[in-house]
């Protein structure tokens, strides 16, 4: 795949890129479809229900039907909404969610773009989504969505700081922002062990970035009905919903790559003839399951406790983590 990038532009490699992009899109959509199914099933089991089981065998087609329904629905728009922004917001939220996947090395061979600054690329693009969310909240011209939009802006921007800070430890250890190199550097020991502090901060901040329980304030159903997307329906709503799950895909991949050793086999099992992508998917599913588990267990944070938690709780821990990592690395290098 990366060889294509080196070649001069031709019909062949441009069409290859388009095919590859469509394939990635389909893979992601497939994942999203079944992540939603999986979520509903898992939470169903945790809550003494069976989850979807009507459409298709074992309800496997439920999400397909749901999404189709959303796509076929009438496109409604509140009368006083800001037309242009109202239409733009879902795209703003949705496009970066997909774009971040380009740099993910799913295995040694499957990667679409091998950027030197992969981590930075992810962080930079994912912060565009908050624009979509706040635009949606503003453009809907609804008080609930406005409050939801404001909350998400505050939340997502605040939690980005500890998120990035917690990754710095990993970058210090690897000496690179390239995701592929970060995975390769974990041959001996996964980053989750030496970077346990960073990992904990990352997991919590990621939860907030994804707007998922216990940080699902922007769409706090019991207070704000549905938050920023309260006025959205049909395919525009589907875009917000898909963006959320695609981000889960992205964040799951990122956690796997940064802390869980990417496609590397655990416990010295690399003699087994199992392709790296399988390990990747397993670790990734572990994270996704963790998300659902949290969702079934936790109550929601309160808006005014949310920001102090990021600034006074997570950020200092992340900074301490950077300090410790830096000291240890200098010690090892003999520079201290």
């Amino acid at each position: 795949m990366t060889d294509l990038l080196q070649q001069s532009t031709s019909l062949w490699n441009v069409s290859m890129f388009i095919v590859a992009a469509v394939v990635l899109l389909l893979v992601v959509l497939f994942f999203v479809t079944y992540a939603i199914y999986f979520e509903r099933k898992v939470i169903g089991w945790m809550q003494l229900r069976t989850g979807p089981n009507r459409v298709g065998p074992l309800g496997l087609l439920q999400t397909v039907v749901d999404v189709t329904k959303l796509l076929l629905k009438e496109d409604t728009r509140p009368k006083d909404a800001d037309k242009a922004l109202y239409a733009l917001a879902p795209v703003l939220a949705y496009a970066p969610a997909f774009a971040v996947l380009a740099v993910m090395p799913f295995s040694e061979t499957i990667q679409f773009a091998d950027l030197g600054i992969g981590v930075l690329y992810y962080m930079a693009l994912s912060s565009i989504t908050v624009l979509g969310v706040i635009t949606a909240g503003w453009a809907s011209n609804n008080k609930y969505s406005l409050i939801g939009g404001m909350r998400s802006a505050a939340q997502m921007i605040s939690y980005e700081v500890p998120l990035v800070m917690s990754v710095l430890g990993v970058i210090l250890m690897t000496g690179s922002m390239n995701l592929r190199e970060i995975v390769e550097a974990q041959r001996d020991i996964w980053n989750v062990i030496p970077q346990i502090l960073g990992f904990c901060v990352f997991i919590v901040a990621a939860q907030a970035e994804l707007n998922r329980t216990p940080f699902d304030l922007p769409e706090a159903e019991s207070e704000l009905v549905a938050g920023y997307h309260v006025e959205y329906s049909g395919f525009r709503f589907a875009m917000f919903m898909l963006a959320e799950y695609v981000y889960m895909f992205g964040m799951g991949s990122l956690v796997t790559i940064l802390f869980l050793g990417g496609w590397l086999a655990p416990f010295g099992l690399d003699f087994l003839p199992i392709p790296g992508i399988v390990w990747f998917i397993l670790k990734f599913l572990l994270y996704v399951f963790f998300q659902f588990w949290i969702r079934a267990t936790m109550p929601r944070f309160r808006a005014d406790q949310l920001l102090p938690f990021a600034w006074k709780g997570l950020l200092p821990i992340a900074l301490v983590n950077i300090l410790i990592t830096a000291v240890v690395i200098s010690f090892q290098n003999g520079t201290l």
């Binding site: 809550q47 609930y144 409050i147 216990p214 304030l217 019991s222 207070e223 936790m298 109550p299």
Partner: protein, 384 residues
């Protein structure tokens, strides 16, 4: 003092420093909102996310129970009371029967009294379980709701077996109860008590110690005992401020004086205290149930000696009992006929709701649902 929407005025401020104009806005919460527990409507004036003022609007479920009662004879009124506090219909049944029985001096057979206490305590547990589940739903946790409803379902099944209804029981009659316990029913209730005792521990393990949960509720919606009494609050709302007042203990009715149980109180007067009290009350109700089931008379009548047509003597009476939400009272003015001349219910949800605007002032919007939920209102009862 009457309040209406026109009385709320919105301020806007212009800050010279930033050049920004800020505005207060009206947010209409309900009557179709997931956290107003029915058709309650709250108009709040907010500045950012801070509530400046709030105005509860009620009456969307008003059916005129008290007026309707004037055209019905006493037995016919009982099913109407089911529809007031529909989460605890048994206590409503009891309060009207108790009022008429007090007026006419009817003796209740022991077995009927025990059946009444058993179903009332079961209903109290069921009501608290619904509260627990929906409150956690308000706070943002989804699973407890389904666990609570699983256990409540068992109570409803038992009620279904006893009187053929799951929600509006119409079980009690003036002078006793309509149906005797079917064979094996008492054993099933005993099984249920054992089951719930175990489950309560799981409930605590899942929710009570959760840091997020405690942080959300501690110190929220706080008031003191004097305020509570001034606002005529009762039930958990009153007991959470340290006032030990439970009619089952202080003015025992039915056979409550035969059982040993505690009246849990707290002194904090905040949402967390109310949460803890309701959980403790479930445990106390289980204690009462255990004793009542143990002392349950083997056999006996379930209806006392009651005249064919119920005509309370001329005069008036007021009785009150402890419902899961507080003191529910029934006032009857009779002119000696088979229909009441005037009937009035003191509905604890309605009285407890009155303190809401005071509690909401200056709070954050996310505390709004926590405070409203902790009052534990049932709209059928607020609006009657």
């Amino acid at each position: 003092m009457s309040m209406n929407l026109d009385m709320i005025s919105l301020n806007s401020e212009f800050s010279e420093g930033t050049g920004l104009r800020t505005e207060e806005m009206l947010l209409n919460v309900g009557p179709q909102h997931p956290s107003t527990h029915g058709v309650f409507r709250l108009v709040v004036k907010i500045d950012g996310e801070t509530i400046k003022e709030s105005l509860p609007v009620i009456g969307y479920l008003h059916r005129g129970t008290e007026k309707l009662a004037e055209g019905l004879n006493y037995t016919q009124i009982i099913p109407y009371t089911d529809r007031m506090d529909y989460l605890s219909a048994m206590t409503n049944n009891y309060v009207i029967c108790h009022a008429v029985e007090t007026m006419m001096g009817i003796q209740i057979p022991e077995r009927a009294d025990f059946l009444r206490v058993i179903v009332m305590e079961m209903n109290r547990i069921a009501s608290h379980l619904v509260w627990w589940g929906t409150y956690l739903l308000d706070i943002g946790a989804m699973s407890p709701f389904l666990f609570a409803f699983r256990d409540r379902e068992m109570i409803l099944e038992l009620f279904n077996e006893l009187c053929g209804a799951r929600l509006t029981y119409n079980y009690m009659r003036i002078g006793g109860v309509k149906w005797d316990a079917p064979p094996g029913w008492i054993e099933k209730v005993k099984e249920f008590v054992k089951h719930l005792k175990k489950e309560i521990e799981n409930y605590h393990a899942l929710v009570t110690g959760n840091e997020i949960f405690i942080n959300r509720l501690q110190g929220i919606g706080k008031f003191d005992a004097k305020t509570a009494i001034d606002y005529s609050l009762s039930g958990v709302m009153l007991r959470s401020t340290g006032v030990k007042w439970d009619l089952r203990k202080d003015e025992p009715y039915s056979v409550y004086n035969r059982f040993e149980f505690d009246v849990p109180t707290a002194t904090e007067g905040d949402c967390l205290a109310r949460y803890q009290l309701r959980m403790a009350e479930i445990e106390q109700s289980l204690r009462i149930l255990e004793q009542a089931l143990g002392q349950f008379p083997e056999e006996g009548e379930i209806m006392g000696k009651v005249p064919k047509v119920i005509r309370p003597p001329q005069g008036e009476t007021f009785v009150r009992i402890e419902s899961p939400r507080g003191e529910i009272g029934c006032y009857i003015a009779s002119n000696g006929k088979d229909k009441p001349w005037r009937m009035k219910f003191r509905r604890p949800s309605f009285n407890n709701l009155q303190i809401l605007p005071k509690l909401l002032k200056g709070e954050n919007i996310s505390n709004m649902v926590a405070i409203l939920g902790s009052i534990d209102i049932v709209l059928g009862e607020v609006d009657a």
